[in-house]
Symmetry: C2
Subunit: 118 residues, 2 copies
Amino acid sequence: MFQESLKRLVQETDGGLAALLMGFDGIAVDSFVGNAMTSDMNTVGMEFSFILSQVRKATEILELGSVVELTIRAEKLTIMIRVLTPEYFLAIAIQPEGNLGKGRYLLRVLGPKFQAEL
Amino acid sequence: MFQESLKRLVQETDGGLAALLMGFDGIAVDSFVGNAMTSDMNTVGMEFSFILSQVRKATEILELGSVVELTIRAEKLTIMIRVLTPEYFLAIAIQPEGNLGKGRYLLRVLGPKFQAEL
């Protein structure tokens, strides 16, 4: 059900490595992992689901409204997360030199397809 | 010493509201806050210095290398953080409809000026 969109997300983003649909509790719904991905996408998602929950608490305290998107650029990997519903988020792992703008665009465009099924 | 660069960061970013140089311990070194900023930039920085430390732990566990940049897009505010040294980071607060790309560019370009003084 989600495979096609997850695959599209990875393959149409230059430098796209893996995509993941996950609950805020760190339990994955579905994922697509390309051959070039060297980290375990589920573990990455779990670590960042925790971070995302912390970010949610911070924006609440600061009265900044809901979290829309979170991007973490580390030396070896970029993780871009888009919050879909209060329970689920969509994440993409991109190579450091990959196209973040395209990844962000696809997360935004494909988001409603996922939301419709959640 | 840092005021000029902090001011430039805010004024040359479309939608730029405030900029902050802060330690990972949540203690601000210097900041520039424009008139349109409605949140307290020090409090925002403190909350996100905590998040940044959590992100650092996560990327360590995941062996993704050092954190380079962190972007949080909330409904009412976007926060973009660039790590300058293991002790300090530079943050800019941008309106939701502001120019993230310009903010990121200026963080990258002005970063070395701050690093040279830290």
